[in-house]
């Protein structure tokens, strides 16, 4: 079935990259600082300074050739960054800018080399103007219309990372069908949405009147959008893995020290067995995430299947990990002051983002020939 056996391990280079990102986040964006940001709300949540540091580390252009300002690596390495950003709940536009828009533009060859370079080096931030819940197999969006002169009209609700972006890549219905247009974010009206996931604020974007530059149309626009969404699914699953790992480790630490009935609560067998089961799930998620990232990097013909597999499996693991974490922390996990709730909200939103597990199982039904 699969063409070649995927490499499911982490390379030494990937492990070094992980260490740098983890150290950076520990220094510049500890979770206590993230907790402080969410009380500000809206645009203030996004940590632009951290984004520049991440660009400085070369993490924002990993899959791009060096001549495009990138690192000449692949989305495998980017997936390791996504794991760490998930683990640290870093409020930066990685998914939108470095994964989804970058993937879309990469599928257009060298056409958008200048913008790719700007995204890679931190000179620009872009977002994909689709509702965050959009699944890769959704029909090409039609809520925005592009006139023949490039003028756009319409609104896109619930866009991720748009609040921090200076450019928006907008799928639109053009005179000749599907169109992908770039617009200057300043020309649009962005209204912050109260988001369930407090660390990835969503925006309703009204592009009416903005002038869009057509970057692809027809089948090419469709292919570019699918690439953005499919790669988004694979990398989102890496973020979810990071969340699940944080939740599991934090809970194991907590139950190892919290004492009730004269014993650490982590010595009670019922809790041990639940955490063991969760660890099994996280281990499996790791294999599934590596497999999806490898498929993206290898441009495998099965990338869509492996990305949907990852979304349908890892979403549930991350949600379960954060839910178990809340339960096993007892009262403290239910408070605002403990950062756990931010992970719970992110995990549940991520399960909906780019399609629910249910939606991805339907994709698998088609791709794996398991007909309804």
């Amino acid at each position: 079935m699969s063409e070649t056996t995927p490499d499911l391990l982490y390379t030494d280079v990937e492990e070094e990259l992980r260490s740098s990102v983890r150290a950076l986040l520990a220094d510049k964006s500890p979770v206590s600082a993230v907790l402080g940001r969410v009380d500000e709300g809206g645009a203030a949540v996004v940590d632009s300074a951290l984004w520049q540091e991440l660009a400085g580390l070369g993490t924002t252009g990993l899959p791009l050739d060096e001549e495009l300002g990138g690192s000449g690596a692949t989305f495998r390495e980017a997936a390791v960054v996504a794991e760490e950003l998930g683990r640290g709940l870093a409020p930066v536009p990685y998914l939108g800018s470095a994964v989804m828009v970058t993937s879309a533009l990469m599928s257009l060859g060298r056409d958008e080399a200048a913008l790719l370079e700007a995204l890679a080096t931190g000179g620009s931030v872009a977002a994909l103007a689709v509702g965050l819940a959009t699944a890769p197999d959704a029909p090409f969006p039609t809520s925005v219309r592009a006139a023949a002169d490039g003028t756009l009209s319409g609104t896109v609700e619930g866009v991720a990372d748009a609040i921090a972006a200076d450019r928006l890549l907008v799928p639109a219905s053009g005179p000749e069908g599907p169109a992908l247009c770039l617009v200057d974010a300043a020309e649009t009206r962005r209204s912050a949405v109260v988001s369930l996931d407090m660390t990835r604020p969503l925006t309703d974007v009204d592009v009416s009147g903005a002038s869009g530059r057509l970057v692809a149309s027809g089948q090419r626009a469709d292919t570019a959008l699918r690439a953005a969404l499919v790669n988004g699914c694979a990398l989102l699953s890496a973020e979810q893995l990071g969340i699940a790992e944080w939740a599991l480790e934090t809970t194991v630490d907590y139950v190892g020290t919290r004492t009730q009935f004269g014993r650490p609560v982590g010595s009670f067998q019922a809790l041990k067995h639940r955490l063991a089961d969760l660890w099994v799930g996280v281990s499996q998620a790791r294999a599934v995430v590596r497999n999806a990232a490898d498929a993206v990097a290898a441009e495998s013909s099965e990338v869509e299947l492996n990305a949907s597999l990852a979304q349908s499996f890892v979403s549930d693991v991350a949600v379960r990990a954060t839910e178990e974490a809340v339960q096993l922390h007892g009262g403290i996990g239910f408070t605002w002051e403990h950062p756990l709730h931010l992970y719970l909200k992110r995990a549940k939103s991520d399960a909906i983002a780019l399609g629910t597990p249910d939606r991805h199982r339907r994709v698998l039904s088609r791709l794996a020939d398991i007909p309804s």
Partner: protein
């Protein structure tokens, strides 16, 4: 209407007659609720199983349902009683069981009429499931006690006049033996109430700090060192209270979500359909189980299903709300409002899906965690052997913390 002979047998017909007679004197349509309730208390129709003079008639407990139903039939169902839940459900039976005549005289009537509100100061940051490990100290000074410590997860503390409180009076004996139970004046100097914000953004609960709070010894409930036993009476009354009326099918969150499903064909997928049907079946099973428990209680055969009902309720609420959010897709990514606020009686099912999801996480923690309930079922219902314990015989001060 004839007056009721005081030596009538205390059976259902007699109590119905008493209610009818009472209503003929106090018209619920024109009498102020607090006055109506005060008179009802004095007539022994508050809690019929309480003694005469203390809100009751010394009648069988099972007849309370008859009386409540009869008052409801005459158009009187008291309103705004949500805030009295701790007073009515927990403080009253404890005061009745352990209070001195003076205490019963002082507290029960205003508790019943709603003139005074109650809260509960039991849990502490270091003593949740293991409540007996609590560390709030009470030191006797003359005919008072001086209290220092911190309590958490206290609902209504910011409104309450009184609290039932558990404190450690002797750290040198094993933890269950060194506790004493008090009634605490929430307006007393040194009582500081702070809102405890929860992951929904709201603060339903409080933290309560006790700094040299003086409680007169006359507000001690039960003997010194007997606090754990007194608290058992309180806690036994905490678990799911089963209402007098059968719950209708699709009551609660399952109804909300099933209605969304019915009215929103755009959200339907075969996979979600199957999930919803499975949850619907489980919700219906849980409802029937609660109904069966209600019938057992009414027949005077209380069963151990109360813990099971709470366990099932928490699990179901959590799973249903999880499916609700995913079913809503893009709409599920939003939330109504994160602004800090103190909610007052907003119906859970009327809130948004994000709130259902987040708030229900507390259902398996508050009022006995699901883990503790499973222990209770395993040991007290199934009779499975207890785990080896090392903390029961050590002096409290020597326990690992």
């Amino acid at each position: 209407m004839s007056s009721v002979p005081t030596d009538a047998p205390l059976d259902a017909p007699a109590l119905r007659e008493r209610v009818a007679e009472f209503v003929s004197r106090y018209d619920p349509a024109t009498t102020k609720q607090e006055d109506f309730l005060a008179a009802r208390f004095d007539a022994g129709l508050a809690w019929v199983h309480f003694p005469p003079g203390e809100g009751g008639l010394g009648a069988p407990r099972s007849l309370q349902e008859t009386v409540d139903a009869e008052f409801a039939r005459f158009g009187f169902t008291p309103t705004g009683r949500e805030r009295l839940v701790i007073g009515l459900g927990m403080a009253a039976p404890t005061i009745l069981a352990f209070g001195t005549p003076e205490q019963r005289q002082r507290y029960l009537r205003p508790l019943y009429t709603g003139a005074e509100l109650w809260c509960q100061l039991f849990s502490e940051p270091g003593a949740g499931s293991d409540l007996a490990a609590l560390g709030t100290r009470a030191v006797q000074e003359g005919d008072s006690w001086v209290l220092n410590g911190q309590k958490v997860w206290t609902s209504l503390a910011h409104h309450a006049d009184w609290a039932i409180l558990l404190a450690r009076t002797d750290p040198d004996v094993p933890k269950h033996q060194g506790l004493t139970y008090f009634i605490c004046d929430m307006r007393a100097p040194g009582v500081e109430v702070r809102p405890l914000r929860q992951l929904t953004g709201e603060a339903e609960f409080n933290e309560v700090y006790l700094n040299d709070v003086r409680i007169p010894d006359t507000q001690r409930l039960g003997s010194v060192g007997e606090g754990w036993r007194v608290a058992q009476t309180t806690l036994m009354n905490e678990r799911v209270s089963i209402g007098g009326q059968p719950e209708p099918r699709e009551g609660g969150l399952i109804g909300t979500v099933t209605d969304t499903w019915r009215s929103r064909p755009d959200l339907r997928t075969p996979g979600t359909h199957d999930e919803l049907l499975r949850l619907w079946v489980r919700a219906e099973a849980a409802r029937l189980t609660k109904e069966r428990l209600r019938q057992q209680l009414a027949a005077g055969q209380p069963g151990p299903e109360g813990s099971a009902a709470k366990l099932a309720f928490a699990e179901l609420n959590q799973e249903i709300s999880g499916v609700e959010l995913e079913m809503l897709g893009q709409e599920g990514l939003t939330y109504t409002d994160w602004t800090f606020r103190r909610p007052e009686g907003i119906e859970f099912t009327e809130r948004d899906a994000g709130f259902h999801y987040l708030r229900s996480k507390g259902n398996s923690i508050e009022g006995g965690t699901s883990e503790v309930l499973r222990n209770i079922i395993a040991e007290r219902v199934l009779g499975l052997p207890a785990e080896p314990r090392t903390d029961k015989d050590l002096a409290w001060k020597d326990l690992p913390r």
